[in-house]
Every structure is written in C-alpha cells, then in structure tokens.
C-alpha cells in the first residue's frame, strides 16, 4: 500500500483528504505543522508527501527544501491554496514534483499520487536497453537509475531523473513541453508547461549547467527542449 504523508494545517481539509485517500487504499499519516511533518518523515517513511504551501510557522516552501535535503528521491506534491502563478512557480522551484490547486477532488489527487509513484518506481517509459551512457562529464546509469557528474553522484528528484532519462534517450530530438509533460508526469493537463520549465531549471542547476550556455539541455524556442550529447 502506498504510504502518504499529508501535511495540512486545516483540520477539515486534513480529515477530508485523509478520509478520501484511505478509502482509496492508501496508508495515510496526517501532520498539522511542517515541523511535525518532518518528524513523521523518518518514523512513517512515506512513499509520497502531499504538502500544503501555506502553513503556520515553518512554511511549505521551507518544509519542501528541508525534505529535499533529507531525501532527494521522495516525491512531493504541493497543494497550493492560492493557485497564483507565482506561488506555483516558487513551489516547483523549491523542489516539488507536482502541484495541485485546492480545492482538489479526491480522484484528481489520487491520479497525481499514482503518477508520481510510477515515476519514482521505475525506468523510463521507453524501456531502453539498460546501460551507462556518458556525455562528457555526465554519466547516466539507465539500469541503476543513477546519475554522476564528474564522477560525483548527483541526487535527483524522481521527476528530474525521469526528465533527464527521457531527454537523453533520444539525443538531438526536440521534445515539446506537452510531450515531456505526458512522458514524465504522466498526465496531460493541457497548459501545465510550468512543470516542465521549472523541472528543467532545477535539473540544469543540479548538473552544473551554465544558465546562459547550457551544455546538454537546450531550449528550443517556441517548441520545447532537446538533449545534446556533446
């Protein structure tokens, strides 16, 4: 059973979401504050975290950063109450894998959770031959699902890893944001290109790509992104 850690300060929302998720077969731990949530992380060992962005005390952004520091591969879904573009972008850049805007129907949340769990669990959709590909300083182990840069392992969040695996599987091919959204996030909510952009930005930062002159992950203006194997 997938284990979900829900961090939400409002009791009604917490109880409602927990109820709905339990009914769908999840094991749910609910935390009222960010600090509580971080504590439960070690004892509960969740498969996925659903994190409210606006929390009293430690904010959702801080919680997200701390969790990323503790566990690079833990999928985090951010639930934002405001849903403003700024909030979403800031949340994604803090390291969230996905976001939902409240109020969110239980089945949508359920679908998102399943998607991030699929991402965290496995190999890329193309099912390519397991091998280690090297691109200059960058080495991608498709079987072991690990990435090294200049010999040092790079800790990537599930969506970042999946994005890198998808792009590098076909070097030179241009992927539209929509294609990446479907391949990596496995939902096609039309127009959610911000997920892709935010994830590319984080991935570039972790791979030490110069922001103005990226070596591997190139922006194709008006289309999307492509991977250069140079």
């Amino acid at each position: 059973m997938p284990r979900v850690l829900l961090i939400e300060d409002d009791r009604a929302v917490r109880d409602g979401v927990a109820l709905a998720l339990r009914r769908q077969g999840h094991e749910v731990a609910a935390a009222e504050t960010g600090e509580d949530g971080l504590n439960r992380l070690l004892s509960f060992r969740p498969d996925v975290v659903v994190l409210d962005l606006m929390l009293p005390g430690m904010t959702g952004l801080d919680v997200c950063r701390r969790m990323r520091a503790l566990d690079q591969t833990l999928p985090i879904i951010m639930a934002t109450a405001r849903g403003d573009d700024e909030d979403i972008v800031v949340g994604l850049e803090a390291g969230a894998d996905d976001y939902v805007v409240k109020p969110v129907p239980a089945r949508v949340l359920q679908a998102r959770i399943r998607a991030v769990l699929r991402r965290a669990a496995g190999a890329p959709a193309d099912g390519g031959i397991p091998k280690i590909d090297t691109y200059g300083d960058l080495a991608v182990d498709r079987a072991g699902l690990s990435v090294t840069w200049q010999g040092e392992p790079v800790a990537l969040a599930p969506s970042e890893l999946r994005l890198l695996l998808t792009l590098s599987a076909s070097p030179g091919q241009v992927f539209s944001r929509q294609q990446l959204l479907e391949a990596v996030w496995q939902h096609s909510y039309h127009g959610d290109a911000r997920l892709v952009d935010a994830c590319v930005k984080r991935l570039r930062a972790k791979l030490g790509e110069p922001p103005r002159e990226p070596r591997h992950i190139h922006t194709v203006r008006g289309f999307g992104y492509r991977f250069a194997s140079r």
Binding site: D10, A12, V13, D15, G16, V17, L19, A20, R23, A79, A81, R82, G83, D84, D85, E86, V89, V101, K102, P103, V104, P105, A106, R107, L109, R177, Q178, S188, Y189, H190, G191, D192, A193, R194, D197, V200, K201, R204, P211, R212, E213, P214, H218, T219, V220, R221, G222, F223
Partner: protein, 509 residues
C-alpha cells in the same frame, strides 16, 4: 478650460495675444492722434494769431505815420510812392502793399497783380472801416492779406470820415507755415514710436497674462491625462494667481476623492479575493470527500442518496465558481501574468477538445499541423476555447462547430481567428451587448445554470491580455457565433544553437 484651450488652438488669429496687441495699438493710436490734433490746432492758432496781430499793428502804425504826408486827392505816382513807403517800413522787405484811391490802384512793386486779394476782402474793406484780414492759400504758399480804410483824424466829430484811401497788404507766411509743418511732422513722428511702444507693451502684457494661462492649460491637460498630483506655482495676488490657487484646490480635492475611490475599490477587490480565498479551505475539505459521498450514495435510502448527490454536485459547482472568482480577482488586481509560448494553435485547440471529451460532439475545422503557429499563453487559450465551446454546448444547440483560420490582415498584422458556432436560437438582441458582463443573467428563470456566470467575462479578459478581441453575434442562418481574434506574434527566427533559458517565464502582457 478645455473650451478655451480649443479656441486658442483653432483660432490663433482671435487669440488673446492678438486681441491684446490690437487693443493696445488702437488705444495708442487714438490717444496719439487726439493729443496731436488738439496740440496742433492750439499751436497753429497761436502762431498764426500772433503773426497776424503783429502785422496788423505794424501796418496800422505805418499807415498812421505816413498817411498825413499824403496829399489828397492824390495821383497815381503819389499813391505808388505811398505804397512803397509803407512797404519799405518793414525791414525784411517781405511786404507787398496795394493802395486804392478812387479807382486808382498802385502797388509797392510795379505791376504786381496782387492776386491774393479776393473780392470778398475788397468788399469787406469797402463796407467797414475796421481792419480786415484773410489768410489765402495760393499754390504752395500761404499769405496773410490785410486791408484797411484810412480815415481822417478829427477832434470835432465822433465819426471818422473816410478818406477813400484803402491800403492792402500781403505778407507771405512761410515761417508760420514752416512752424505748422514742423508741428505736423512732430505729431507724426511721436505717434509712430508711441504705437510701437504700445505694441511692445501689449506683447509684454499678453505674455504676463498668457504665461499663467498656458501653465493652466498644461496643468489641466496633465490632470486629464491622469496625473492628479499636478499643481501650479502661484505667484502674485492677481486674478490669475487666484485662478491658479483655485485650480490647485480643485486638483487637490480631485486627487483626494480619486484616492478615496481607489482605496474603496482596492478594498472591494481585496474583499472579493479574500472571500474567494476563505471559501477555498472549506471547499477543499468538501471536494476531497465528494467522491466518497458519491460512491456511498448507491447504498443509501433514496432520499438520503438524493441529498448526498445534491451536496456533491453543488460542491463541484461551488468549487468552479470560487475558481472563477479567484481568476477574476487576479485580473482585477493586475496579478494575471501571460506565459507566452509559440505553439501550434490547431494542436492546442484539439487538445482542449480532447481534454474535455468534446472531440466527438464538436465539429472542428482546423488548419493542418504547424500551418498556424502563434505566440500565446497556452493555458489561457485553453480557458478561452473551453469557455466558448462549453457555453455553446450549454446554451446553444448542437451541432457546435469550432473554426480556426488566419484572418485577413485588418491593419495590425496577421491574426488568428477562432470562431465557435452553435445552432441554437441565438442570443436575444437586448442580451447581446451584455454577454461578456459578469454574472449577467439574460433570463431570470434560467438564472441557475451550470456555468458560474463568470466564464465569458474571464474569456474576454484572457483575450484582452493577448491584445485580441472577442465578440458575439447571431448568424443569419440561426445560432450564435463567438469570434476571437488574436494577433499572431511570432518568435524571432530560431537560431541553430538556442541558448535562451526559460522562454515562458514572467512575460507580462
């Protein structure tokens, strides 16, 4: 003020400056002319009076002195000598004398026709014993003609019997004429500088008046353009300064009222945003459990099941309404941001239909893939198309058609035209102008519909953010048509090695 400004601009010739100059010049001209004329008249009279008095006294003195020596009756030679003597008494020799005695005439200068002597003067001397004089203008010179009869001196009688001797004298008045001419010249010469000075003063005065007026005009225009903190510098204490002062007070009052209104508006917007936001939390809890309610409704008794399903449905509607309200308050607060990206518009529209499950119900006439690309915010375009198609499906009747084509360049470059057509009864004419208003309900009986009443307002805002237009109309063959026109901006040509990062972030419309 605007009226004055318009007039100043459109009728320069009737402007304040010209009017002031003309008025000043007129006043100066009238003053100079009147003063000159009066001065001239008095001076001329004085000059001439004095000269003729002198001449008459001199003549009388001469005649009185010389007449006793003349033996009467006298002959022509005696008369001529007498005339010469009288004329000779004047040192400058300017006198010409005519002596008349019983039909005999003699002049001081031989054969002098004595043209200046008029019959009227001759007659006057004949009829009166007093000295008579006349000024005569002949050709280019003026002369004074004096005539007198010589009477005997008698100590016996009170009457002075006339001797019949008449003396006429002509004196040229060249000097006097010169005086008078000089006067005229002086008046003329004084008038021209006076006029010039008047124009100069008028220009200065006009500047003094016009500068504050111009400042006032600029300030008024500035206020009209929305710079409500515009104030005038008040100097002096004349009427214009008072006007400037009043203007400043008005501007301050206006600024205050506008600030107050803006404050109220901002509070109202905040309130709407806050209310929507506060509604989100309970809705989040309700939305999370509606699926649970729906699932369990099947196992409940019919009344409870109906109630549960009702709650579930209304929660969904409420969630959508709150979403729309949040979106509207973002537009109102100016917090809505465009994330532009160059996309294939036909593909985007196809995805919108597919995501809503409308692919089979809506006939789409879209161009070939990649035939029509444009720089838009994909999420907002999705909202626009979904709203219009959803609206057509709800309020119109099927078949509903979605058209996309490139519009004929109506001035501002290439445009993408998106049309959503339905086959329903169309939109009543009185409703047509209001369809994009918030919560506009065309029919009270139909006031509760699936929509939030904000969909078309949000559509319009989204289109406007792209610099496009949206309009509603009825088709001649029945049904309504909503037409969206979006300007087709393109990215600059893609380079081989594009390095620009994050093309879609933070691009405000």
């Amino acid at each position: 003020m605007r009226h004055l400004g318009t007039r100043v601009r459109t009728h320069r010739l009737r402007g304040l400056r010209v009017r002031l100059v003309v008025a000043f010049a007129l006043v100066a001209a009238v003053t100079a002319t009147t003063t000159g004329a009066l001065t001239f008249r008095e001076a001329r009279t004085g000059v001439l009076q004095q000269s003729q008095d002198t001449v008459i006294v001199q003549l009388r003195t001469q005649v009185t002195r010389l007449a006793p020596a003349l033996v009467l009756p006298a002959g022509r030679d005696e008369l001529r000598r007498f005339a010469s003597e009288v004329a000779g008494a004047e040192p400058s020799g300017a006198w010409r004398v005519l002596v008349v005695y019983r039909g005999l005439e003699a002049t001081s200068v031989p054969d002098d026709p004595f043209e200046e002597l008029t019959p009227a003067l001759r007659e006057a001397v004949d009829s009166r014993s007093a000295t008579v004089f006349q000024r005569v203008n002949r050709a280019d010179h003026t002369a004074l003609v004096v005539g007198m009869s010589v009477a005997f001196t008698s100590s016996l009688s009170s009457s002075w019997p006339l001797t019949g001797l008449q003396v006429f004298l002509t004196v040229p008045q060249t000097t006097e004429q010169a005086y008078v001419d000089a006067l005229v010249t002086a008046v003329e010469r004084a008038a021209v500088p006076a006029l010039a000075l008047a124009v100069l003063l008028a220009l200065l005065a006009a500047r003094g008046v016009l500068r504050p007026v111009r400042a006032l005009r600029h300030a008024t225009r500035s206020i009209a353009e929305g710079r409500l903190d515009t104030r005038l510098a008040v100097d002096g204490s004349d009427e214009l300064a008072e006007l400037s002062h009043t203007f400043n007070e008005t501007a301050a009052a206006l600024e205050e009222s506008v600030a107050e209104l803006r404050g109220m508006e901002a509070r109202a917007r905040r309130f709407a945003a806050d209310v929507s936001h506060e509604l989100r939390t309970p809705l989040a809890a309700m939305s999370a459990v509606t699926d649970v309610l729906d699932e369990d409704a099947a196992g409940l008794d019919p009344d409870t099941a109906t109630a549960v399903r009702l709650i579930s449905e209304e929660t969904v509607k409420l969630a959508r309404l709150v979403d729309d309200l949040m979106e509207i308050s973002r537009f109102d607060a100016g917090a809505a941001v465009l994330h532009l990206d160059e996309i294939d518009l036909a593909e985007s529209l196809r995805r919108t239909l597919a995501a809503r499950g409308w692919t089979d119900t809506v006939e789409a006439r879209l161009p070939e893939p990649d035939a029509l690309r444009g720089r838009v915010d994909p999420r907002r375009l999705d909202v626009v198309v979904a709203n219009l198609v959803g609206n057509a499906l709800r309020h119109g009747a099927r078949p509903v058609r979605l058209d996309l084509h490139e519009g004929e360049g109506s001035g501002a470059g290439r445009r993408a035209v998106i049309e959503v057509l339905d086959s329903g009864p169309g939109i009543p004419d009185d409703v047509l102008p209001h369809v994009f208003e918030r919560f506009y309900k065309s029919d009270a009986a139909r006031s509760r519909t699936e929509g939030s009443g904000l969909g078309l307002a949000i559509t319009e805002e989204n289109v406007r953010m792209h610099g496009g237009t949206v309009r509603a109309a009825n088709r001649p063959e029945g049904g309504a048509v909503f037409t969206v026109e979006l300007p087709l901006r393109r990215d600059e040509p893609t380079r081989d090695e594009p390095t620009r990062d994050e093309p879609t972030r933070e691009e405000r419309a």
